[in-house]
């Protein structure tokens, strides 16, 4: 009889406590992987850090005018229009520092619009 109460108690705890805890834990794990990246004249923020062998989701948002998002010759999103954020997934294989630049001529200092992805070992 006692085992029934214990089993029921465990099931109840799993449902009543486990579900919210799992939801919040999942959200935290998930949220870490979604990095909001802001593009505005003439900066790309924040500096992105990730571990080699992992991937991140970048939510790219243009704050002022249309920008582009390019990581060397690996990734190029040519048009990110204000009001229309785009989500991309970036996988890091080799450690190192990778430069990001705007790939859509966005104004007089377009050429200086840079950012960084740091892939840690």
């Amino acid at each position: 009889m006692r085992w029934q109460e214990v089993t029921a108690g465990l099931i109840a705890a799993a449902v009543v406590v486990g579900i919210p805890v799992a939801a919040i834990a999942y959200e935290r794990a998930y949220a870490e992987k979604v990095i909001p990246v802001e593009l505005q004249q003439w900066q790309i923020t924040p500096e992105i850090h990730m571990k080699a062998g992992t991937h991140v989701h970048l939510l790219l948002t243009a704050r002022d005018v249309t920008h582009g998002f390019q990581i060397g010759n690996l990734v190029n999103i040519p048009e990110i229009v204000p009001g229309h954020p785009q989500e991309i997934t970036v996988s890091a294989v080799d450690p190192g520092t990778y430069e990001i630049n705007c790939s859509n001529t966005c104004g007089i200092d377009h050429a200086t619009m840079r950012g960084k992805i740091v892939v840690e070992p």
Binding site: M1, Q4, E5, A8, G9, I11, A12, V15, V16, I19, P20, A23, I24, Y26, E27, Y30, A31, V34
Partner: protein
């Protein structure tokens, strides 16, 4: 018959015996009476006799616990979504689950076909019940925690829930669209259930205070399923009445009913304790024609009449507010201005508490004048008001079609992203809003309303016959209330498809 003696197995289809018809309040109904001239009032099909495995399932104490856990598995994520999820209603689990999925399932399936089965799943009183019982499943001790006081005699009716339901109905505009408000309401109900259980016995909260308990109870009289002792004759000779006093291993009816003589589904929460207490294995789950309890001449009262009026009036006002073309009415209900909201509240309260009962009363009074046989007006008014249950339930079913068909597709989206946090658990987070069945919907609504009208008219005639005791005055007395029904049906048809 002595305790512990087994009843002979019975086979499915059966007719109520003369003795049982009296016990169930159907004594004045002729034995061959049929609903719509088709379905015998006394026809029953005993599922537990036909499927003995079902009885074993129902007797198991795990069954109720598993049902409650199913309720919790839906309720807990919904509550989390309500408190910390997105404030956008149609992207939040609590709004989609409660006001689209649960409501539609309740009105379209559970109440008409399975009575108060929701009460068996409902997680809201579970904490308080576990606390009082000091356990989850097993009966640990015969003594329950809490003061176990009796609910005041004057409040042992539906009046408290009538006003509690109405109080919540006044906030329907924001309740059904704001996740936080819905979460606060559900959390609040749980707290009130807990507090009630500290002072009062058993399922007092569910029986006398639960906001949805009133209409679940009343409309369950129409359900095609019932839990009753079967055959009643075995219970008559059985003096120990474990279902009322409990046993070492199971509780006395938590809903404060006497399962052996129970005539109506109104206060049967389908907790299944009576299956576990009965040493004769004499409880059964039976199919029956819809509306059988409406003819039960036991425990009728004006509190339940007013519940019928409130539900009928509220259905009309909700249909006008949510589905009608009147933007001003929507703004009033959504509290866009204090004056507008107060107007909405006043119109709603006045309609359901005053106008609908007064109109129905006027038609009953006319019928009484036509019947020409002296019967007490209050008795006729109360009895005939139960005839509004079929049309009321069908109006809510038609209303639920209009909730489910246009909005049901939100369910596909929120199962992948229940909190609106950008998840995509099952790959359906970007499922677009896709209304379905909109061409079919008006036909379903009209058919449902017509069925409700015909069934209500039939029940009203039978109730008039029960009240008068003879055909001719009953037929005359039923004419004006049936005209009232025709008006109500026309109004709903216009509101839904006009």
């Amino acid at each position: 018959m002595s305790a512990g003696q087994k009843v002979e197995p019975k086979r499915g289809a059966q007719k109520l015996s003369a003795e049982e018809r009296v016990v169930r309040g159907l004594g004045a109904i002729p034995e061959d009476e049929k609903f719509l001239g088709l379905m015998p009032v006394g026809w029953r099909y005993d599922l537990t006799a036909r499927f003995p495995g079902l009885r074993r399932v129902l007797r198991s104490r795990w069954t109720s616990f598993i049902l409650q856990m199913l309720g919790f598995a839906l309720f807990i994520p919904a509550l989390v979504a309500g408190f910390i999820g997105t404030p956008v209603g149609n992207a939040n689990l609590i709004i989609v689950l409660v006001w689209i999925f649960w409501w539609s399932a309740l009105m379209l399936i559970m109440v008409p076909f399975a009575s108060r089965i929701w009460c068996a799943l409902c997680p809201l009183p579970s904490f308080s019940e576990w606390l009082a019982r000091k356990g989850f499943i097993i009966k640990v001790s015969p003594k329950l925690l809490g003061l176990q006081k009796k609910w005041p005699a004057k409040l042992r009716n539906m009046w408290p829930v009538n006003f509690i339901f109405l109080g919540l109905a006044l906030f329907s505009g924001i309740l059904t669209t704001r996740p936080l408000v819905t979460a606060l309401m559900l959390g609040g109900i749980m707290v009130v259930a807990l507090i009630t259980n500290i002072f009062f016995e058993k399922r007092t909260f569910c029986r006398y205070l639960c906001p949805v308990g009133g209409f679940l109870g009343l409309y369950s009289n129409f359900a095609t399923l019932e839990i009753r002792s079967n055959p009643y004759s075995d219970c008559r000779g059985h003096k120990t009445k474990e279902c009322v006093i409990g046993t070492d291993g199971a509780y006395a009816c938590p809903w404060l009913e006497s399962p052996t003589t129970m005539a109506r589904n109104t206060y049967c929460g389908m907790c299944l304790e009576c299956f576990r207490t009965c040493s004769l294995d004499n409880m059964s789950v039976r199919l029956r024609p819809p509306g059988a309890d409406l003819l039960a001449d036991k425990h009728r009262g004006l509190d339940e009449s007013w519940k019928a009026f409130i539900m009928l009036g509220a259905a009309a006002i909700y249909a006008a507010t949510m589905m009608g073309p009147w933007g001003t009415l929507k703004d009033w209900a959504n509290m866009k201005s204090v004056g507008g909201y107060l107007t909405y509240v006043s119109v709603l309260a006045l309609t359901v508490l005053g106008i609908v009962p007064a109109l129905f009363g006027a038609f009953v009074w006319l019928g009484r004048a036509l019947g020409k046989v002296e019967v007490e007006f209050k008795k006729l008014f109360t009895n005939l008001s139960y005839g509004l249950v079929p049309i009321g339930l069908m109006a809510w079913i038609a209303f639920s079609f209009a909730i489910l068909f246009p909005n049901g597709s939100y369910t596909v989206k929120v199962i992948s992203d229940p909190f609106g946090w950008g998840w995509n658990l099952f790959g359906t987070a970007n499922f677009p809003w896709t209304p379905f069945g909109l061409r079919l919907m008006p036909y379903l609504q009209v058919t449902t309303l017509l069925f409700g009208f015909v069934y209500s008219a039939d029940v009203i005639y039978k109730l008039a016959r029960q009240t008068y005791g003879s055909r001719k005055p009953a037929a005359l007395a039923a004419i004006p209330p049936v005209i009232f029904l025709a008006g109500v049906t026309s109004l709903f048809t216009w509101l839904f498809v006009g």
